[in-house]
C-alpha cells in the first residue's frame, strides 16, 4: 500500500478525482444526449439507493447474496483446505488431485451455470454450487503451496523437540502456511463475489443483488441498477479492507511473517 506520509495528498486527490468524475457524469446525464432512463443523474441514483434501503428491499437482497457467498465459501474452504494441506504433505494425494485441479481450473465457474441449473434447479443450490466451484481453486492452490513453503528446518526443529504429528501440524504447519491460506481466502472471496453476481443473474431466483440488476434491465431502471452496483462494490470493498485486512493484522502481520510490498 502507499506510503503514509502523503496521506493528506491522497485524500485530496481522492476528492478531486471523484468530484471531477461526478461532474463529468452529471454533465453527460443532464446534457440530454442520452435518455434519462438510461443515464440517470446522480441525484436519481442516490434516491433509488435511499428508497431501496429505507423500504428494506436492498438490505434483504444484499443479505441473500451474502448468505449464498458465505455458504458457498464455507463449503469451498471445507473441501479445499484439508485437500490442499493433504496435497502439500503427502505425495500420493498431490499426484492424484493436482492434475484434476489443473484441468478444472481453466474452466470459468460461470460455464457450469447451465449444467447446475439442470441438476439443481433455479435458485440457491445452483448459486451456492457456482460460488463453491469458483472459490475452491484459489484456496486449494494456496493451501498446497503454503504447506510446501513451510521451512523444512522448522519441521525438523519441531520434531527434534519431540513434537508429534498433531502438534507439528497445529503449531508449525498451520501457522507457517497462514500467510498463504489468508491470501487464498482473499482471492477465493473475490472470485466468489464475481461468481455469485453472475449466478444470480443467470439462475434467477427472486432475491439477490445480481438478480436486482438483471431484473432492473427489463424495466429500464438504470437508477436501480447503479444503486445495486454501488451496494455490490461497497460490500466487496468492506470485505476486502475490513475483514481480510483485520484478519491479516491480527495474525501474520502481528507475528511479523508478512514480507513488505505485498502485491
Amino acid at each position: 500500500m502507499s506510503a503514509l506520509p502523503d496521506r493528506a495528498r491522497s485524500l485530496r486527490r481522492l476528492l478531486t478525482s471523484l468530484l471531477l468524475a461526478a461532474a463529468v457524469y452529471e454533465g453527460l446525464a443532464r446534457s440530454g444526449a442520452f435518455a434519462p432512463a438510461l443515464l440517470p443523474t446522480i441525484a436519481t441514483v442516490a434516491r433509488a439507493l435511499f428508497d431501496g434501503v429505507l423500504d428494506g428491499t436492498l438490505p434483504a437482497h444484499a443479505l441473500s447474496t451474502l448468505y449464498r457467498v458465505l455458504i458457498g465459501l464455507a463449503l469451498a474452504i471445507a473441501i479445499a483446505l484439508p485437500l490442499g494441506i493433504g496435497m502439500g504433505r503427502y505425495r500420493p494425494i498431490e499426484s492424484f488431485f493436482l492434475p484434476l485441479a489443473s484441468a478444472l481450473m481453466p474452466i470459468p465457474s460461470l460455464a457450469w451455470v447451465p449444467l447446475f441449473i439442470l441438476w439443481f434447479g433455479l435458485g440457491n443450490a445452483t448459486a451456492i454450487g457456482i460460488v463453491c466451484y469458483a472459490a475452491i481453486f484459489p484456496m486449494l492452490i494456496n493451501a498446497w503451496s503454503g504447506v510446501r513453503a513451510v521451512n523444512p528446518l522448522w519441521l525438523r526443529v519441531g520434531s527434534a523437540m519431540g513434537a508429534g504429528e498433531r502438534t507439528l501440524f497445529w503449531k508449525v504447519i498451520v501457522p507457517g502456511s497462514l500467510p498463504f491460506l489468508l491470501a487464498g481466502l482473499r482471492q477465493a472471496f473475490l472470485r466468489a463475489w464475481i461468481a455469485v453476481v453472475g449466478a444470480e443473474m443467470l439462475a434467477a431466483s427472486d432475491w439477490g443483488l445480481g438478480w436486482v440488476i438483471f431484473d432492473a434491465k427489463e424495466f429500464l431502471k438504470a437508477d436501480v441498477m447503479l444503486a445495486a452496483l454501488a451496494v455490490i462494490g461497497l460490500i466487496g470493498f468492506a470485505f476486502e479492507r475490513l475483514v481480510f485486512g483485520a484478519l491479516e493484522r491480527l495474525t501474520v502481520e502481528r507475528w511479523g511473517m508478512l514480507r513488505a510490498g505485498k502485491g
Binding site: 486527490r13 481522492l14 478531486t16 478525482s17 471523484l18 471531477l20 468524475a21 438510461l38 443515464l39 499426484s95 492424484f96 488431485f97 493436482l98 492434475p99 484434476l100 489443473s102 484441468a103 478444472l104 481450473m105 481453466p106 474452466i107 470459468p108 465457474s109 460461470l110 460455464a111 457450469w112 451455470v113 447451465p114 449444467l115 441449473i117 439442470l118 441438476w119 473475490l190 472470485r191 463475489w193 464475481i194 453476481v197 453472475g198 443473474m201 443467470l202 443483488l209 445480481g210 440488476i213 438483471f214 432492473a216 434491465k217 429500464l220 438504470a222 441498477m225 447503479l226 445495486a228 452496483l229 455490490i232 462494490g233 466487496g236 470493498f237 476486502e240
Partner: protein, 256 residues
Amino acid sequence: MVGRAPAFVTTALPFIVVGAFWEIVAHLQLFPARLFPSLETVASTFVRLTVSGMLPQHAAGTVLRLACGFALAAIVGVAVGIAMGRWRLAEDLALPLVSMGAPIPGIAYAPLFLLWFGLGNVSTILLVGFVSAFPIIFNTWTGVKAVKDVWVRAALAMGADDRRLFHKVIVPGALPHILTGLRLGLAQAWRILIGVEMLAAVPWGLGWMIFGAREFLNTDVMLAGVVVIGAIGLGLEKGVFKRLEDFTVVRWGMMT
C-alpha cells in the same frame, strides 16, 4: 506449473479413475440419462458437433470476441498505466477511480452495458475490455513506478532523449509487470466472457451454446462445450503467455 516432471501414467491415472466413476454412475442410471450422460454420449456429441462445424464456429466466435475485448483492454490499459506512472496529474486523477472500480465484479456491469449498447457483440466486447483493463492498468502503473531510478538517470546522463528513454528504459524495465498485468487481465476476461455470452445473446459463442442447450436438456452438448472451454482456457494459460514471457523477459534475464 505442475513441476517435478510427472510420468505420463501418474497424470492420466486420476482422469481414468474419475472417468470410470462417472461411467459407473451414468450406467447405473441413478440419474436420468438426459441429465447425466455417459462419457461415450458426450464424446459422440463432441465428434458430431465438431464434424458439422457447429462447435468450431461457436469456439471461433468466443475466441474472436475475447481477442477483440482483450486487445482493447491491452491498448487502453497499458497507455493509461504508463501515463499514471509517468505523470503525477494522471496518477492523481485516475488512481482513485481505478481502485474503486476494480473490486466491483465485472459481470455486475453486464446488464448496464446491455442497456447502453444493446444485446450482442458490442456490449460483450466492451465489457470484456472494461473488466480486463483494471489489472492491466494496475500492473503497468506499478511496473513503471518500479523502474529503477538509477537506470533512468544513467540513460539521461548518457544523453537519451524522452523517446529513447521511453523505448529503451521504461518499457523494457516495466515489461515484467506489464506482462503479469496482461496475463491477469486475460484470465479475468476469460472468466467473465462465458457468462456475458449467456446474458448477451450473441449469435455465436460457447457461452451461448451451452446456455441455449439448457432449453432442450442437452446435457451432452453442455459438457462437450465445457470441455472446449476448458481446453481454450488451458491453451491461453500455457500457450500464449508462457511463450511471450520466454521470448522477452526470461530471455533478457529479468525473470526466471
